[in-house]
Structure formats: structure tokens, C-alpha cells
Amino acid sequence: MPLIRFIQHDGAEQEVHVAPGTSVMHAAIDNGVSGILADCGGACSCATCHCYVDEAWQEKTGEADEVEQQMLEFVMDYQPNSRLSCQVKVGDELDGLVVRLPKSQI
């Protein structure tokens, strides 16, 4: 079971184990990690699941598709490693993934 380390804006950390194939969004919601809202439940429609993928992991998580990229341009505090967490699926190769959360979603 891959492990994800969530780091809140204020530095608080939480580690969760998830079944392979789970999205980073679900990993947060299912385990009560605050900071991810995910109003649309993963339909890539709301952009309230914004997160930052630690630079060391960016290559492995791949790139945002066109729709996701267009939405990311307008999230609060966009950074080059911004992603919508519902679009990042965690397989065994992402065991240990480090994800940072923004101060606010909207």
C-alpha cells in the first residue's frame, strides 16, 4: 500500500496509506486530511482539490492534461508543481509521495 505524506501550509504533516490506484484527492478526503475540498468529487470541474507535488516526485506523477492545465492557471497561488489532486493516481511507483497543500482553495 503506497504511502503519501501530506504537508499542510502551516507545516503540519499527516501520513496515509492508500490502495494502489487511489487518487491523491481521495487519499486526503478519505483520511480526513484537511485543505482539500473536492466539491465535484473528482470530475475535474471544481479545482478545489489543488495541491503541490514535491519537486522530487514531479516526473513520476506525470503532467496535467489540457483541461487540468487550463484550470490550474487560475487557482490561488499557482506554482509550476501545482496539480489537481483528483487527477493524480497513486500507484506503487509513487510510494512515499510528498504532497503540499495550499493555504486556501478559492
Binding site: 478526503i29 478519505d30 483520511n31 480526513g32 484537511s34 475540498l37 466539491d39 465535484c40 468529487g41 470530475a43 475535474c44 470541474s45 471544481c46 479545482a47 483541461v67 487550463q70 484550470m71 492557471e73 487560475f74 487557482v75 478559492i106
Partner: protein, 408 residues
């Protein structure tokens, strides 16, 4: 505050958020979530989309897994209807005669479908679409080659039509008004959706007056007032919802097209808050009272309500937004278009499948309907949240970057 028992009635979008925020904000007392449906809170939007089309399993609908509630000490009391609230003794009565005392109460009773009293409405094969149960029953009647009639050309009706076309069914949509989505969009947007549904093989009949549902105990067709008849193996009625205010009324709370709440989600009783589809609340951005039917409103207002119960008064002032998925069309709406006097289109609604319609009242940008235009949706959501307007000429000009169009 925090050692009291918080009881939340209704177990859906608003209540799931309310309970989670209560815990995040430090509520230490018991939390009970009492809901009539038998499963933990689930995402309702996929019901007419991926779940109806068979692309999603019911486990994937849950807003949070059952273990979340266990871990956070939130007691789920499911399959239980609350029949009355007694605000003087601070107890709720359950359908089986039991009762639960509360310190604080939250009403998240949502909305229920508006029923049509048509001749023949009580036959097999006639459905409304609000709950998982409804869709599970509908799924027993669908399949390739079967004919469906959808009464009502709103978002849910059109999504249902799209999902059924995906399954290879014959689909007719009957809309009483001159155009689909008439109450919620501009004529340009209605025309776009009519065109695409036509291209996808849906038969849309507007100005349709339904006279009766025909059949022999199982529905066989729909009789129209103009003498036409449409054959059907099933009929889905989607003609809007009404706020579920029965309980609030038993409690003697102020009700006026929804449970009346203030900017902190407080009802007229100091120990009772309310959130979601069931409320009538003031929106400071549009400067009027509203009743909204959206996940955004359910979750954002629930946060406000939970914080209020924890003694943190935070004004509810979120910008409304909404989405709808049909075929390959991803519609995202930011703001409320009601009251517009002008529409500006970026891209073309007359051909293709991507454009944005911006709604103005005078110089003021009110809202956007963005079809396969996530960038326009996000840009307008941010601009409206920040109180900005936009230059209509720049919006209409695709050669101008959307970010250059906004004005203070």
C-alpha cells in the same frame, strides 16, 4: 459549547461537510447524523451522469468512506426518518417512535422532487430522479434499443438523456417551455444544447403539453395535448425540486421558500442552524435572498453552519458555481445569470462544442456558462470572487487573453 450533542438531520452533501467541519473546528461532543436514506452521504451529481450510464459503482459515490465517520466519532443513524422537532425540549422524534435529545441541531434536509399529477403517473416505469434508490430502479428499465421519455429539459433531464443515449436508447425530451434550460440560461446556450442533443440523436420537443401517461399498469407512452403520442418503455420526470421544509415547520421555524437563515446559517431558533438546498439565505454578492440547488452551496454553507455552532461566526459570502456533464460537453458555470440584460459569447455557440457565454446586467458581469472552456470558467470565478467586472468587447475577442478582459 463543545460537549453538547450535535444532531444533524439529513445525510447528504451538506451534512457530510457540516459534520467534518465540526470536528475540524474542535467540536468535542457527540455528533449524530440522522438520514432517511440507507447509505452514508454520497455524491448526488453522478446519479444522472456516470452512475446512470453504468460507468461508476455505488461504492465510488460515497463522499467519504464509512471508516471516516468511525474514526472521527461521528455516529451515522441511517435509514431513519425524523418526523418532528421539539425545540422546547430540544429533542427530535424518529419514524419508529424513538427520540434523540440534542444540544444543537442542524437541518440539512435538502430538496425533494416536484411531482406531476398526470393521469397514469402511478404506473410501473414512471420515475423521478433524486436518490440512489431512484436510479437503481431506473437501471432495471434501461438498455440498448429501449425508448425513454424525459419530461423536463433542465440540467438533470438533459444529463439523463445524454446518459441514456450513451447506452444506445431512443430518447425523447419533452419541455413545456419554448426552449430547454429556459429558466437558467440565455437563448444562445439553450440553442446550443438543443443542437448538440439533436446531433447525438435525441428528439427534443419544446412547447410540449403532456396530457397523460399511457399504459396498462406499466407505462407504454406519453400522450401530448396536440394529439401526438410518444412511445416509451420508461418515463423519467425531472421538473424541479422543492425545499424540504416540513421538519422546520414542525419546529415553528421561519420558512419562506426554504428555511430562512441569516448570514451565519442560523435559523429563527438560536440552537438550530440549517444549510444546503433547504435554505433561503442572503447572498451579499448578488444582494438578494436566494435558494440554491448546488453542491457548492451545500458544502460552503455547511462550513459556515458548523463554524457558527463552534462559536466562530464567519459570514457566508461564497460565489455560487455549478457544473453539468453531457456527452463530451463539460459545462462549468460561475456566478448567477438571473437578471441579465446582455449576453456576450466568446467562440461560437452555433457550431462546434466549445464556447463561453458571459452574462451582464448593464456594465456588471454577472456570470459565465463555459462549455469546454475551463480557463474562462476559472478566470470568471476568480474575477467575480474578487468583485471585478469585465470589458465585453475584450471577452468576445478570442485574440485577447481572457486575463486582460477584467476590470476593477
Amino acid at each position: 459549547m463543545s460537549n453538547e450533542h450535535a444532531v444533524i438531520v439529513g445525510a447528504s452533501h451538506a451534512s457530510a461537510q457540516l459534520a467534518a467541519t465540526l470536528r475540524q473546528s474542535g467540536w468535542e461532543g457527540n455528533i449524530s447524523l440522522v438520514g432517511e436514506e440507507a447509505i452514508p452521504p454520497y455524491h448526488r451529481p453522478p446519479l444522472s451522469k456516470g452512475y446512470l450510464a453504468g460507468e461508476k459503482h455505488s461504492d465510488e459515490l460515497l463522499i467519504r468512506p464509512a471508516t471516516f465517520y468511525e474514526k472521527t466519532g461521528i455516529d451515522l443513524v441511517l435509514g431513519t426518518r425524523v418526523t418532528a422537532v421539539d425545540p422546547r425540549n430540544k429533542t427530535i422524534t424518529l419514524h419508529d417512535g424513538g427520540s434523540i435529545p440534542y444540544g444543537k441541531l442542524a437541518l440539512t434536509t435538502g430538496a425533494r422532487v416536484r411531482k406531476l399529477d398526470l393521469p397514469g403517473h402511478d404506473q410501473e416505469g414512471v420515475f423521478y430522479l433524486r436518490d440512489l434508490n431512484d436510479v437503481d430502479r431506473i437501471r432495471g428499465f434501461i438498455g440498448p434499443g429501449k425508448s425513454a421519455v424525459i419530461i423536463g429539459g433542465g440540467y438533470i433531464g438533459l444529463e439523463t438523456a445524454a446518459s441514456m443515449r450513451k447506452l444506445g436508447m431512443e430518447v425523447t425530451v419533452l419541455e413545456a417551455l419554448p426552449r430547454v434550460l429556459q429558466r437558467v440560461t440565455a437563448p444562445e446556450v439553450s440553442a446550443f444544447y438543443s443542437r448538440v442533443h439533436g446531433e447525438e440523436g435525441v428528439n427534443i420537443i419544446t412547447d410540449a403539453a403532456v396530457q397523460a401517461l399511457e399504459g396498462d399498469g406499466t407505462v407504454k407512452g406519453v400522450q401530448l395535448a396536440d394529439g401526438n403520442r410518444v412511445a416509451a418503455d420508461l418515463v423519467v420526470i425531472g421538473v424541479g425540486v422543492l425545499p424540504d421544509t416540513d421538519l422546520a415547520e414542525t419546529a415553528g421555524l421561519e420558512v419562506d421558500n426554504g428555511i430562512v437563515v441569516d448570514e451565519f446559517a442560523r435559523t429563527s431558533d438560536p440552537d438550530i442552524v440549517a444549510a444546503g438546498d433547504c435554505t433561503n439565505h442572503y447572498n451579499p454578492i448578488y444582494e438578494r435572498r436566494l435558494r440554491l440547488e448546488s453542491v457548492q452551496n451545500a458544502t460552503d454553507q455547511a462550513k459556515t453552519a458548523a463554524n457558527t455552532l463552534c462559536g466562530k461566526l464567519e459570514n457566508y459570502h461564497a460565489l455560487p458555481w455549478f457544473w453539468s456533464d453531457q456527452y463530451d460537453l463539460k459545462l462549468q458555470i460561475a456566478g448567477l445569470s438571473q437578471g441579465f440584460d446582455r449576453v456576450v459569447v466568446r467562440g461560437s455557440a452555433d457550431s462546434g462544442r466549445s464556447f463561453a457565454a458571459f452574462y451582464f446586467c448593464g456594465d456588471r458581469l454577472l456570470a459565465v456558462d463555459a462549455v469546454n472552456r475551463p480557463k474562462e470558467f476559472m478566470a470568471v470565478r476568480r474575477a467575480l470572487t474578487q468583485g471585478q467586472s469585465a470589458d465585453p468587447v475584450k471577452l468576445a475577442d478570442e485574440s485577447v487573453d481572457i486575463q486582460q478582459a477584467f476590470t476593477q
